[in-house]
């Protein structure tokens, strides 16, 4: 979750917030998010390579936020979910563009680029990934 805080702290996170970036071990094939420094399976034999995830996956679990923290009141009610990416790793993110009745465990989702937080009327606007519901064929749904 994003908090009111220093500009440099946000700036350092742009790479991992703008895109779903992690890495993959070329020896055992496992994907990691966030990136690992050492492959936990292969240890020193592991070879890690940066990857941008497809952004598609399914809802592993979710919660509906009705009493939002300060700065997020206007968004309530909103859905925060754990998404299991098609490559394997799990990521936390908001589900947008979707009625609460559309949200189900196992529902297909796809990454979208949205505003995450605005630091008041004068401060910076922070952007990053959220998710939206898609149909079983990975298409925009009705």
């Amino acid at each position: 979750m994003v908090h009111r805080s220093s500009v440099p702290m946000h700036w350092r996170l742009y790479e991992s917030r703008y895109n779903l970036v992690g890495n993959k071990c070329l020896v055992c094939g496992e994907f990691f998010y966030p990136s690992k420094i050492v492959c936990p399976n292969c240890r020193r034999r592991g070879i890690l390579k940066r990857v941008v995830f497809s952004g598609k996956g399914k809802i592993y679990s979710y919660t509906i936020i009705r009493n939002a923290p300060r700065g997020f009141e206007k968004y309530a009610p909103y859905v925060v979910a754990i998404i299991e990416l098609d490559e394997g790793p799990r990521v936390m993110g908001w589900i947008v563009d979707s009625k609460i009745s559309d949200i189900k465990i196992g529902q297909r989702v796809s990454v979208v680029f949205r505003k995450i937080y605005e630091d008041g009327k004068e401060g910076l606007i922070h952007y990053g990934f959220k998710f939206r519901v898609i149909d079983e064929n990975n298409q925009l749904r009705d």
């Binding site: 703008y18 968004y75 947008v96 949205r114 606007i125 925009l140 749904r141």
Partner: protein, 345 residues
């Protein structure tokens, strides 16, 4: 030969019907809906703006182009609703797309035609060999003052075009027509634009769209009847249809690009969303004529020729009509006021 190697659209999910806005202001919904030719318009969510719309449209364009984002040497975003007055939208968009840091970026403004101005700049850079590929985007989250006629049409959406060598669609030529015309403006720090009502039609929209189109036709030496599709800027449905009638263009050539009836006027995204909807269905060998319009005022006209390659890229990203017809949810005026931040608390 240079032209469009990839294109992409984005329209927010929410819609408000013209009749719902008319109900609140005590107007006759049928008269307004029929007068403007707009049934409903798109509304951005609270966490959407010109930057997020640009990223979504450009990601679709990249998916179609199938190129390395690092090969994009310039990004120009045309909009009249850049989220920052100082800090270019293009910096965030280029970073999110993976084009940074070796590239040229600037935000453009020319009312509703800043996106096509970007296409001309990028085409010139590509032709001159300054960059391999360039990205031009037209996107807006436009606002009309509550109760003003513009409230029925001001909408949100955008389209992105990657221009470079070996294109799916050749840009044969372009022509612009610009004058100092006081039809529509917004001063620094003001939330809503003003319009010189008597100036919006004949001396602004029609004069520029028609003259730019004639100028282009003369430059390329073609008759308008040789084009398979024609797209004009769409402040409403009435204006472009009247301009099409002037050129005797039949319905089947302009309806595919007439996206305004279902999403409203997406300003810098308007004529470009029309073009993107046409490219989604165009066939090799077909010719497309595009003329934008921006208040102030000016028009950019383009002659496009579709190549065989288009068949390889059309299905690589969501279609414009999918965003328009499928991905939508209706809201009432109360929700609209909340989403467009029209309530000052």
């Amino acid at each position: 030969m240079f032209g469009i190697v990839g294109w992409g659209a984005y329209v927010p999910r929410y819609r408000i019907k013209t009749e719902e806005i008319a109900r609140v202001w005590g107007k006759d919904p049928k008269t307004i809906s029929k007068g403007l030719g707009i049934v409903e318009k798109s509304v951005p969510d609270l966490d959407e703006d010109t930057i997020t719309i640009s990223v979504e449209a450009a990601r679709n364009a990249l998916a179609r182009a199938g190129i390395d984002p690092k090969d994009i040497g310039s990004v120009y975003i045309g909009s009249e609703s850049h989220p920052y007055v100082v800090k270019p939208s293009g910096t965030v968009v280029a970073q999110a797309l993976g084009c940074a840091p070796e590239l040229m970026v600037a935000d453009l403004e020319f009312a509703c035609k800043a996106g096509t101005a970007g296409m001309q700049i990028v085409l010139a850079q590509v032709t001159a060999g300054m960059v391999k590929y360039g990205l031009a985007i037209g996107a807006d989250t436009s606002q009309g003052r509550p109760g003003d006629a513009l409230e029925y049409s001001a909408a949100a959406g955008g389209a992105a075009f990657i221009i470079g060598p070996k294109p799916a669609v050749v840009i044969e030529d372009t022509y612009s027509y610009t004058t100092d015309t006081p039809d529509f403006w917004r001063r620094e720090g003001q939330d809503y634009p003003k319009h010189g009502a008597r100036f919006t039609g004949k001396p602004a929209y029609f004069k520029h769209v028609i003259n730019a189109t004639y100028g282009l036709l003369e430059k390329v030496g073609r008759d308008v009847s040789e084009y398979d599709y024609v797209v004009f800027h769409m402040p409403n449905a009435k204006f472009p249809i009247k301009a099409m009638k002037h050129f005797k263009i039949p319905k089947e050539k302009y309806l595919p690009g007439l996206v305004v009836t279902k999403i409203g006027n997406c300003y810098s995204g308007s004529s470009l969303l029309g073009l993107s909807a046409v490219l989604d269905i165009a066939e090799p060998g077909q010719k497309i004529l595009l003329t934008s319009f921006g208040s102030g005022a000016g028009s950019d006209s383009f002659s496009l020729l579709v190549k065989d390659k288009i068949l390889d890229v059309q299905n690589k990203a969501p279609k414009t009509r999918d965003y328009i017809e499928k991905n939508k949810e209706y809201i009432d005026y109360g929700m609209y006021v909340k989403l467009r931040k029209k309530l000052k608390i």
